[in-house]
């Protein structure tokens, strides 16, 4: 007999959280589908041969590995035992848990490329696992919502992603957000232009901190990272960009001599043109030349979404990658995608109080249970209420009324139908509004109409 507990970094989602999470996931799912993305689910268990080497050394360590079944130890030699954990792992674990949705997607595309319609647009909403140190807002098991298009380099896909981000967030009620956009090619062009070609990686890491540490310290850090004073001097225009709204013109001049930089700016402007072409109402897009998001991965557009007015990191990120499936032997498939962070979105919505009212209601109507006669009388009413679309239950035991009403309260059931001998005699039942305490006497049909009318504006029955 043990006192049970949860593994660190994992969570139960009870009814109240589930209803809110379902609201988020359903909204995102239906938006993705409205944009022509099709659903995909891949298994939790993947072969480690598929996962290892895809997320860098740190990623390999953060993968949860599953012990082989059966007598795994019997197959090991004494030398194996004295090796280090990493080496033994490969001998006793062949499978691991999904670390993100991108690598399984790439595997799926490669394994099914003969039958998939290309460009292939898929969305995927599933949990992922990382053996990270758990901390506030960071879990070892958490959900990702990804949408990707693979098999085309059309910038229409980027514009669609911008639109889709606007529509999903607005549908969730998150009105104040910023979709930050950059392009890897612009970063490459800047590195070229300042005479530090190929060094866009460390450049971005430092520039990313501009808001926090200021120009002087960024320059200091760049010098520490191997940039020369000549490089950083040429970087001056970037420090004037942050105050500009959409600094296309400034960058056009600055990067005039870099072909790849100009290409990046062309791509970026085309996204703006297409979004405008859609007629999107009040676009909340911002060109952020310091946006990099890991960088090594992306080859074109880079996206990040921040909810304004809350101290919570980015709620979405993504971009274009030109070689998604190359690691599985199928080169040349360009893709672009976006990932929404359900946990962060949940936190934003909680903090801003954005969940629709009554979201935590799961049962609409409860019938009390006075005695055997009332129980049998009530059963057909339960059935009729359900047929009318109401989530309905009868309290299962004929215990004290107070206990039954207390149950309805704790479950946030808005209406209780009281049935006793006088109600059975007259056919007029007593409906109690649990919020106001108000009681109404009426026939079954009238009561069902009343409850529906009350709930319909708030709940989609």
């Amino acid at each position: 007999m043990s006192k049970p507990s949860l593994p660190r970094g994992t969570r139960d989602f009870g009814p109240e959280q589930m209803v809110k999470r379902t609201f988020i996931l359903t909204t995102i799912r239906s938006t993705f589908q409205r944009f022509g993305f099709q659903p995909l689910e891949t298994p939790t268990l993947e072969n480690l041969s598929v996962l290892m080497g895809k997320y860098g050394d740190e990623g390999d360590q953060l993968l949860f590995k599953v012990l082989n079944s059966g007598d795994f130890a019997g197959k090991l030699t004494p030398e194996d035992w004295t090796a280090d954990s990493k080496q033994i792992t490969t001998k006793i674990a062949e499978k691991g848990l999904r670390y993100d949705l991108t690598v399984p997607f790439a595997r799926y595309v490669v394994m099914n490329r003969g039958t998939l319609p290309f460009p292939f647009k898929r969305f995927q909403i599933q949990p992922v696992w990382r053996a990270d140190r758990p901390q506030k807002g960071r879990y070892r098991e958490f959900y990702q919502c990804d949408a990707d298009v693979v098999g085309t380099d059309s910038l229409l896909c980027e514009a669609e992603i911008v639109l889709m981000l606007h529509e999903s967030l607005r549908a969730l009620g998150i009105a104040d957000f910023t979709v930050k956009i950059n392009n890897r090619k612009i970063l490459t062009g800047i590195a070229e232009t300042i005479g530090a070609a190929g060094m866009e990686g460390p450049l971005c890491v430092a520039i990313d901190k501009l808001d926090k540490i200021g120009k002087e310290k960024v320059i200091q850090e760049l010098h520490e990272r191997g940039f020369t004073p000549e490089n950083t001097q040429k970087l001056d225009p970037i420090f004037n960009l942050s105050t500009e709204e959409q600094p296309f013109d400034l960058l056009r001049n600055w990067l005039a001599d870099s072909e790849i930089g100009r290409k990046g700016l062309d791509e970026l402007e085309e996204i703006w043109t297409l979004v405008e072409g859609f007629g999107l109402n009040s676009p909340q897009m911002q060109f952020d030349v310091t946006l990099a998001r890991g960088l090594s991965y992306y080859t074109g557009a880079i996206f990040e979404v921040k909810a304004n007015g809350v101290q919570i990191g980015s709620i979405s990120g993504g971009g274009r990658y030109d070689n998604l499936t190359g690691t599985f032997g199928v080169p040349g498939l360009s893709g672009v995608g976006i990932s929404l962070g359900v946990d962060r979105i949940y936190d934003v919505m909680e903090e801003l109080n954005l969940f629709p009212e009554n979201q935590s209601i799961t049962t609409h109507l409860m019938l009390t249970n006075f005695d055997r006669e009332a129980e049998l009388y009530g059963l057909k009413i339960v059935k009729a209420a359900r047929e009318a679309g109401l989530n309905t239950e009868m309290y299962p035991d004929a215990v004290k009324l107070k206990k039954q009403l207390d149950y309805a309260d704790r479950k946030q059931i808005p209406f209780v139908l009281l049935i006793g001998s006088s109600e059975i005699e007259t056919g007029l039942l007593t409906l109690k509004n649990m919020k106001t305490g108000e009681q109404t006497k009426a026939s079954v049909n009238e009561i069902l109409k009343l409850v529906k009318a009350y709930l319909e504006p708030q709940i989609n029955i």
Copy 2:
């Protein structure tokens, strides 16, 4: 570079399967909610201290165990190395994958019993993992859909389960099924009555085979299992039961001297009475005195559902258990529940061709992409179509029309909107019905109306 593969016994669910699976899960979920069950999700990762010892020795072996992070091997002594796999496992793996939804539910109830409304009605739809030998229809990663009530022994819960099974299966379109019901107490009573008290376990294993191997061989097996000829002679009434519709009367006489047997019959009859009280249309219930389902677990009602007309095992099973949380130190909580097998239900529906038509349609309308002008012209139409509730996409590249139509075909998109220079000039667009090949010229608004009118009877837009 490796050729990627899936672990044995796992599956990808591509768009077509996903849409069908979503139909099943959504139908079951909304039925469960209509009956007042609330959603719960528990983590995939559970501590092995929670999971081990709950599923018997075989179950312990079938648990997927997750290797501890970090330098797990460094903490082992040379003695550990020479131990067998089982002993080493406990030292290098603290976590495992969820094996079913019942034990995590029990853990959740124990950990949250101070705040939950009792009786607590929860449903849970999540995958589970078993390191079983994969074979046709048996996977290592598969979904379960469970609904349980815990904290009451009211037989109303059993009747609700019978009703809920009828409503979910009928909502799925599975019309011909049988809900088989038995009661553990009746089996105990039979063992008592034939002078073999406590031997209901082996009794059921043998009797369960009656249909397959016949009376003589069942008796032979019972003798092998330690029953005396006197026991089996007294068992005679059971062989006459199988032809009876609802053999309550026969059993009443036979088990008259067994208190527990009579109790079991009372409980069973009460379920029938309550189901009748609900006014369920044409109940498809059958009392099956040979139904046992593992037995050790259940203490009252036992349920099993078989879809008729297909060679597929049971699609649902469940029953009452009086000590769900006892193993975690909280005795006395009685519960009753049901589990629906999504994979089996999927197979039944495929075999009987029960999935609604057009279930695999995910995009309703595609706009072709002729050239830059048509692309920009089309963007606002895409937006308008989505606002009208249609899942809509524009082909992202201005490639040959044949390729674009081929894409629409492969994705089973029912309507394609063709936009060229003449369409832009006149404002009359060409809508192509991809099934019939028929083309219609009309304005945007008319076209959106046409597509909606065509789809609405079949698809809930």
